[in-house]
């Protein structure tokens, strides 16, 4: 099922209406079911429309005309109208389901797509707490929208039904009632705007509260160790009082809804009452019509006004605010100061010749004023070479791995693969030619086969996957788990080392020609690390770049790139031990670690 994009930009649209636009985009494909549901909703409004008429007729033509049977007959008709209403309710449900359920599917698809795409193009840690918030918001939209559609009848139709019924009964009575109702509706429209603003403020303060409180609660030990009770307490107090103030402000604005009911339903009742006697005396209304009109206002209009202000002013406002939050989330990521990883805009036909990797005057800094992480770096890695990158932690080794694999655009210089700048390579080709394995091994819920074939797709047969597992030393693990068909239900139940083995086997089985291991073996013991690295070093037509975790990695490499802030040295292991005091120092200390 392919859902329509929910983030389609609408040129020239008012920025104030993203929620409404999102709602329209969601409802448009479901027009037919929506229309049918609304028709049934109209039928549901039938008793509200005819109740006064039938009660008036029951009085005038039956109960007061000494003909109780006829009176009961009219009331029986009211009963029939109510059965029709109940039937309409039941018939409406499948169509509501056909609107709401696919709509929820679309919304989830859009939210997941936007969240994953955003996270995949961002350079900041993904906000995992947002997952909970997003699923809750989608569910809120589903609940509110279905509640709203179910009570459409109360929302407008019973109001209109009561007025139409009144008009049929007596145009004069209808005229008396219509004016205050119109004024009340105008006031309510103004009120809605204030309600939306305050509801949004409430939602935002609630989000802030959770965001402020969670790290403090996770760090109570640190608060105690820093003696920061006052400071932590003040942070929480600020967020808590802001949220309470927002709650109270919303409640205050909400009282306006009750005033609208007084204006739109109670005032007409009084006017009708004061004019009733003269209208009856003039012969323009009968007794039954007066009782009928009062029935419309007291049992039709008044509940309808209450429902309208309650439903539109409560659920409707909440829906508008939630939709707006969601549309903000599903909107494409804003361009930050650091350009996101995007496929080149230029149409590219360039094909790399071989897979020599060249860095030319490569530089990277987070911001214009910030100290550069990588500065004017030029070197070449020949096809099939085995290079180790060494240096103290935090020196920019991981950033270099991102630049070399094209995952982060450099702020100076460029990287070429087979003579072609990475920018000019189609993204799909680049990603399949170059593989980067980060420290955190990504193993997902699914079969072992799915996990191992993640990068090779369907072309890799079981034999190929098993051979890759054997090569990196994951064969024992595959056997222990129960073969390729074994399901990994909870990835976290595997040890960090086991997850790294799975990921190493996955990349070994992939078509990648350049493999970058960024501390990808840090949870393996030295012997296992040796085996895994050797598997890649001896893999056919493979350039291996290892961001070193242990110095033993550097001993195995053809060449070592040593990073030390401004200075960068390139040479063989023995060469660097002789040339660089830092390197000699690293080798010495590195060996200390178990």
């Amino acid at each position: 099922m392919s859902a329509p994009p929910l983030t389609r930009p609408v040129p020239g649209a008012a920025p104030a209406a993203p929620a409404f636009r999102l709602l329209l985009t969601l409802l448009r494909p479901r027009r037919r079911h929506l229309t049918i549901a609304l028709v049934w909703s109209l039928v549901e409004g039938l008793p509200a429309m005819v109740s006064g008429l039938l009660i008036g007729a029951a009085m005038d033509h039956g109960l007061l005309a000494a003909n109780p049977a006829a009176g009961l007959g009219w009331l029986g008709l009211l009963g029939v109208a109510m059965i029709v209403k109940a039937a309409a309710t039941q018939l409406m449900f499948p169509h509501l389901a056909a609107v709401i359920e696919p709509l929820r599917d679309d919304l989830i698809t859009a939210v997941v797509t936007a969240t994953v795409t955003r996270a995949a193009t961002a350079h900041t840690p993904p906000d995992t707490a947002a997952v909970t918030r997003l699923t809750a918001q989608v569910e809120t939209v589903r609940d509110l929208l279905s509640a709203l559609l179910r009570s459409t009848r109360q929302l407008g139709i019973s109001l209109i039904a009561a007025l139409v019924g009144l008009l049929l009964l007596s145009p004069i009575a209808a005229a008396v009632v219509a004016v205050p109702v119109a004024v009340a509706l105008l006031v309510f429209a103004r009120l809605l705007r204030a309600l939306v603003t305050r509801q949004r403020a409430l939602v935002l303060t609630a989000e802030t509260l959770t965001a402020q409180v969670t790290p403090i609660l996770a760090g109570t030990r640190d608060v105690a160790a820093c003696g920061a009770y006052q400071q932590a307490g003040a942070t929480v107090r600020e967020a808590v009082t802001a949220q309470s103030a927002a709650t109270t402000a919303l409640a205050r604005a909400g009282t306006g809804r009750r005033l609208v009911v007084a204006l739109g339903a109670h005032l007409p009742l009084l006017i009708l009452l004061l004019t009733a006697h003269s209208l009856v005396q003039d012969g323009r209304l009968t007794t039954g019509e007066v009782v009928g009109a009062m029935t419309y206002v007291a049992t039709g209009l008044e509940p309808a006004m209450r429902a309208l202000t309650g439903v539109a002013g409560g659920w409707g406002v909440a829906l508008a605010v939630t939709l707006r939050r969601l549309s903000e989330t599903t909107a494409p990521a804003e361009t930050t100061t650091i350009p996101a990883v995007t496929p080149s805009a230029r149409p590219t036909t360039a094909t790399p010749v071989g897979y020599r990797l060249q860095a030319e005057g490569l530089g990277f800094a987070y911001a214009a004023g910030a100290a550069p992480v990588v500065c004017d770096l030029t070197f070449t890695v020949e096809p099939g070479e085995h290079l180790v990158v060494a240096g103290p932690s935090g020196i920019g080794k991981s950033t270099l791995s991102l630049l070399l694999t094209g995952l982060r655009p450099p702020t100076a210089g460029r990287v070429r693969l087979g003579g072609v700048p990475l920018d000019d390579l189609p993204a799909a080709e680049l990603r399949s030619l170059v593989a980067l394995i980060p420290q955190e091994a990504y193993v997902f819920t699914g079969t072992l086969r799915e996990n191992l074939a993640y990068l090779s797709g369907t072309d890799a047969g079981d034999a190929c996957l098993l051979a890759a597992a054997q090569a990196v030393g994951a064969d024992g693990l595959v056997e222990r788990l129960g073969g390729l068909d074994a399901t990994i239900d909870v990835p976290a139940s595997l040890s960090a080392g086991e997850r790294q083995l799975i990921v190493l086997a996955r990349v070994h089985a992939s078509p990648a020609r350049v493999v970058v291991l960024d501390e990808a073996t840090c949870h393996l013991d030295p012997a296992a690390e040796h085996r895994a690295e050797t598997a890649f070093a001896t893999r056919e037509r493979t350039t291996l770049i290892v961001i070193a975790h242990r110095i033993s990695s550097a001993r195995r490499a053809g060449r070592v790139l040593l990073m030390d802030g401004a200075a960068v040295l390139l040479g063989t292991h023995a060469d660097l031990v002789a040339r660089s005091a830092l390197y000699a120092d690293l080798v010495g200390h590195w060996d200390d670690q178990g």
Partner: protein, 604 residues
């Protein structure tokens, strides 16, 4: 003997504690609650009076007698109802808001006073859930219960009024009600089962999304965002199926409910209509009958609210569980000047099951020296580290700093005297500068930078987009960088005792050597207590304390202890055979003390 371990106290927390909390919440906000109650009662009275007043008004309007008086009466009742509703809404909101605020602040204070024990007893996510969402349920319960009670009383009043206006019509009403009750109950039971299925599918989807976000770097590197989206959405058909099943069940149930309500109405109206025909009732009184029938049926709307009460009770219990965790009593005595000598006397700490984590421990850390604490994981090293600055209290025995019991010491004085760095520090305080100076509002930017330089993290911070002003949550920090920031936070305090609980485990060898030099050279003369996993750290300590299953197995210098193969085994990689790394460790660890003076040769 002091407080019993909170783990066992928790099991005693029952629904009664939750109910007591609900009651005390209501009492605390009694003034706005009383206003809400008064307003609700007034509103209920107006609601109950309205059908009768309306009927009387119509009767008099039709007869033309006393129209103005009747209109006044009606207007008065309507106005009173409006004013009562407005007052009730405002007072209710004020009452709930003040109850939520005071409950949350009280709970926050309690959790913060628990210090390190809070997250040892309940995970942070649980605490956050109780502080943010359970408190809000608890605090809004008194007002919503009050509203429900008033609603039910009004509904009952409607039935009584109906019986008073016309007992026959009232009888017709009472016959219809039990049927409505049965239908509603059956629907609610059926729906709750379906909801479980729906929520399970939702949970699977959210779990997959969380997985993907955790592995987002691999997704970036593989260019597989598209396939990830499909993988996350795989449970969507299940969710959709459960959703449709919910709708079908609702369609069947709601149909019956929506039929019963109006049929009761028509039946009552018919009986009353016959009454009008008989002359038993005035035509206007038909309005009263219709109005009271609606009021009587309004109990249906309050059924849900009654079900919510069980949710409120369980929320109350969950909040009381946190309150039940005992807070250590703060000391009051100032700390006398001293060099920072730490002593433990017969210290025992028990875990949740009452098993000893530390068992009758006696230990003296000489002032002004570096003591390393070693031992297998689970030996009690972190517990001992937490005791040293009273982040937890021992179950038995005393911890003394410069001769004074920590229990008796004023908390502020204690925090100035003991600084901590942890394996995984939580960076609080907003920006990175704020995180380093957390709890020390007096620390200036210079102090912060000096501490960061000493912890060898200054250059890392200055490479970030906004340097020291980078929000801690936005900075993509490695474990080692985080640890060095935590170290800077300890160093900025310049305390007489500094406790490092595995605080350099994530550093690479060179950086660790640099940090070790800060510890051994720059901090010489201060008391340092370091939980260590690496032989190099132990080798540089003045004294090594070897902890084994809650007891001190041996203490002495690293060189002396090294003769024991069991001690050497502490530093060997668990799974590795005797490789170059472990052999090298042995070689370096036996290097003479000259290394302690100059652990890191000057850089080129």
């Amino acid at each position: 003997m002091t407080d019993s371990p909170p783990g066992r106290t928790r099991q005693k927390t029952t629904h009664q504690d939750g109910d007591r909390l609900l009651a005390s919440t209501a009492r605390a906000a009694w003034m706005p609650m009383a206003a809400t109650a008064t307003a609700s009662a007034a509103s209920a009275a107006a609601t109950l009076a309205l059908p009768a007043v309306l009927a009387a008004a119509v009767t008099s309007a039709l007869s033309g007698r006393g129209v103005h008086a009747a209109a006044w009466q009606l207007g008065l009742v309507l106005a009173a109802g409006t004013v009562a509703d407005l007052t009730g809404t405002l007072a209710g909101a004020a009452s709930t808001a003040s109850a939520i605020t005071s409950l949350r602040l009280r709970l926050t204070g309690h959790i913060l006073s628990l210090g390190a024990t809070a997250t040892r007893r309940l995970p942070a996510g649980e605490l956050a859930n109780r502080l943010v969402s359970n408190t809000s349920v608890v605090a809004s319960t008194p007002v919503s219960l009050l509203r429900t009670a008033v609603g039910l009383i009004t509904s009952a009043g409607g039935v009584v009024a109906l019986l008073l206006v016309d007992w026959q019509a009232g009888l017709a009403f009472l016959i219809g009600v039990p049927i409505a009750m049965i239908v509603i109950r059956r629907l609610v039971t059926r729906l709750s089962g379906l909801f479980d299925r729906y929520q399970a599918a939702q949970g699977r989807l959210a779990a997959r999304l969380t997985d993907t976000l955790a592995g987002i770097r691999t997704v970036q590197a593989s260019g597989s965002a598209g396939r990830e989206i499909a993988r996350v959405l795989a449970p969507l058909p299940d969710l959709s199926a459960a959703g449709h099943a919910l709708w079908r069940a609702q369609a069947r149930g709601v149909w019956r409910i929506s039929l019963i309500r109006p049929l009761v109405e028509v039946a009552v109206l018919a009986v009353a209509g016959l009454g009008v025909a008989d002359g038993r009732l005035e035509p206007g009184q038909l309005l009263a009958v219709a109005g009271y029938t609606l009021l009587g049926l309004s109990f249906i709307d309050h059924v849900d609210a009654l079900m919510d009460f069980s949710r409120a009770r369980s929320a109350g219990r969950r909040v009381s569980e946190v309150f039940a965790l005992p807070v250590p009593a703060p000391g009051t005595r100032p700390l006398p000047d001293g060099p920072g000598a730490l002593s433990l006397r017969g210290v025992t700490v028990l875990d949740d099951q009452g098993e000893p984590l530390l068992d009758r421990l006696d230990l003296d850390l000489p002032a002004g020296t570096l003591t390393a604490l070693v031992g297998r994981s689970g030996a009690g090293k972190s517990t001992l580290a937490l005791l040293s600055g009273r982040l937890i209290d021992p179950d038995r025995g005393d911890v003394l700093l410069d001769g004074q019991c920590l229990r008796e010491t004023d908390p502020a004085a204690l925090r100035d005297a003991v600084a901590y760095a942890f394996e995984r520090p939580a960076l609080l305080g907003g920006t990175l500068a704020g995180a380093i100076a957390y709890g020390l509002p007096a620390a200036g930017r210079d102090d912060v930078q000096a501490a960061a330089r000493a912890a060898h993290v200054d250059d890392v911070v200055r490479r970030l987009p906004r340097g020291y002003d980078t929000p801690a949550a936005d900075a993509l920090l490695s474990g080692g960088e985080l640890q060095r920031l935590g170290l800077a936070r300890a160093l900025v305090r310049d305390a007489r005792l500094t406790v490092l609980d595995d605080a350099t485990s994530g550093l690479d060898a060179v950086t660790e050597a640099q940090v070790t030099r800060t510890l051994t050279v720059d901090m010489r003369g201060r008391t340092r207590f370091v939980v260590a996993h690496r032989a190099t750290t132990a080798a540089r300590a003045d004294l090594v304390v070897w902890l084994d299953r809650g007891r001190i197995r041996a203490q002495g210098t690293h060189r002396d202890l090294w003769r024991d193969p069991a001690y050497r085994a502490l530093f060997a990689t668990a799974t590795a055979p005797a490789t170059e790394a472990t052999l090298a460790t042995a070689a370096v660890a036996t290097v003479p003390a000259s290394l302690e003076e100059e652990p890191c040769p000057p850089r080129p």
